[in-house]
Chain length 336, copies 2
């Protein structure tokens, strides 16, 4: 399967390492033979239609900070040129989420779809701003559009709700969808001030370059958009979310929650309304997990409330979700 990788950060590098370490197993078990024919990052690109060397890609990126130096050529294609000119089956989009105009991810995705490529995105920007129209574009161009890694990292939350609960009717859900704010709130509950807890999270590398994505709830809201569209069949985008972050949470709020035998968490919920907001969760509720964990509770008509808990981020974890999407695409293609 011919793949174009767009973005070559932690997630994409974890993915190619996964390809490398599991190549035999993936072929034997699933008939998947991933061939990376092109990679581009913000500084340049590398192309080889017969397949790039995965280890050389990682080495090049490590040494030069870009894949551009993979070959000894002065000029390299732009991402858009690559998508338009290099034949591939799947685009894997891993550039950073941007909730203003969703670029450059949006153009990558739409260009690839129009060229008849299947698309896997772990970039939440395009989905948050244009989920309904991207799904239409995919249908119109008869390509598959997968995004397992956008919610829950390696924890298959979207798949669980859509597939494992098939035949059920999910009536509402609520979750901790952002590990960074959970980490900050967990530390505040041990007495740290917001500022100290934020500093600690930053030192550990948990906070996005644009801290607003975490602190103002944008990341959680983007995931809520994806869940609402995919699981509940709603047609909504980011502006439809009533979103409050954690900047105004005080030690007093945390103490008040404790008095109620509860913990304060940033909760994204879908129950008639779509809301992201700090909320008290009772200590007996499985949803109230600590540290950087993510958790989501689905309430369904017949089988009660079910909670899934897991790491919401991480390079290898997110790469494993991309691999799942790829296996799905492989299987669908094999059917036809």
């Amino acid at each position: 399967m011919r793949i174009i990788l767009c973005g070559f950060g932690v997630v994409a590098q974890s993915l190619v390492k996964l390809f490398d370490s599991r190549s035999e197993d993936l072929y034997a078990k699933y008939g998947l033979k991933p061939r990376v024919v092109g990679v581009f990052d913000s500084k340049g690109s590398a192309v080889d239609v017969s397949g790039l060397s995965l280890s050389k890609l990682v080495e090049t990126k490590k040494k030069f900070g870009t894949v551009k130096n993979y070959a000894n050529t002065k000029n390299s294609m732009s991402g858009i040129e690559m998508l338009k000119n290099v034949e591939a089956d799947v685009l894997i989009e891993t550039t950073a989420s941007n909730y203003k105009d969703a670029e450059p991810g949006m153009t990558h995705i739409t260009t690839a779809m129009k060229k008849g490529m299947h698309v896997i995105s772990v970039n939440k920007g395009p989905l948050a701003l244009a989920f309904p129209s991207l799904m239409e574009l995919a249908t119109y161009n008869q390509v598959m559009f997968k995004f397992s890694g956008t919610v829950g990292g390696g924890t298959p939350i979207l798949d669980y709700a859509k597939n494992s609960l098939r035949g059920e009717r999910i009536t509402s859900f609520a979750g901790i969808l952002n590990g960074t704010t959970n980490y900050i709130l967990t530390n505040m509950s041990t007495g740290l001030s917001f500022e100290s807890a934020l500093k600690d999270a930053q030192d550990k590398g948990y906070v996005e370059a644009d801290e607003s994505l975490d602190l103002d709830g944008l990341d959680a809201a983007a995931k809520l958009v994806i869940l609402a569209n995919w699981i509940m069949g709603m047609k909504v985008t980011l502006p439809d979310i009533d979103c409050t972050g954690i900047r105004k949470v005080t030690i007093e709020d945390i103490k008040k929650a404790e008095k109620n035998n509860s913990v304060l968490k940033l909760i994204a919920s879908c129950d008639n309304k779509l809301v992201v907001s700090p909320k008290e969760i009772h200590k007996d509720d499985p949803l109230g997990v600590n540290g950087t964990l993510n958790a989501i509770a689905f309430t369904s008509e017949h089988s009660g409330t079910q909670t899934i808990i897991g790491k919401g981020a991480g390079g290898t974890e997110t790469a494993s979700s991309i691999l799942r999407d790829l296996l799905d695409i492989r299987q669908e293609i094999a059917k036809n």
Copy 2:
């Protein structure tokens, strides 16, 4: 789809109510039109090849304690006679689990398979004692064998591990698979003695008629057998489990756990060895849920540890898992 129901207790009654209340939706969305052509319980049976009235079945059972009085006939077929003589597509086996010889469930299942019927079982006995050979028998007779409801009730634990984590390699798992013992241990942690906690659980109807199934860990061990076979590809049966129940747990054990900032739970685990035993779980571990909840944590190679929590029992919940199995069978049949 022609269905024979074997056993007509809480689960089977919840199932026919589900058929009734969702008949339009099931047909429109999934093309499923369940037609119950035969039902038998321990006292007798009811048959109508054109389809039994679901509401009349429930009424009859309520009034007479058996479905035998559905029609005004003196004699009714035995279960085995029905399986041998009434044409049907699927047997749904819901009689009580028995870990001595797995009867009568075992004979129902093998008879149905040999007649070419697909089988859905929520009876754990036959699976605990003969999982590997039942799978072989199903393969040999080219029928589907489904058992989602045996582990986790309505919480799709088996499906999650098998399907949502496809492409992953699960390396170990551990879980609270029996809600009754969890309820007893939770109450003991508030100071109740084992005897009082057991009495309370019995009063609430949580304890099996044969209390040993819960207290000696047999129910948890049976579920562990199913998980080990289905998820890990092991070929094991009940005697392979190293099983200790909760009868010897003392208030001192519970207090000791508390000192270690932990809670004492009956844990079924697969990590080289297959063990059911009381074990301390750290308070920060999402696995340590309270009350009658079930929880299981799967650790996989790339996506870390993921915990699923939900109600492990209940008529409607388990019926919803049977419905999922039925939809799977419907979909598979439609493919051919």
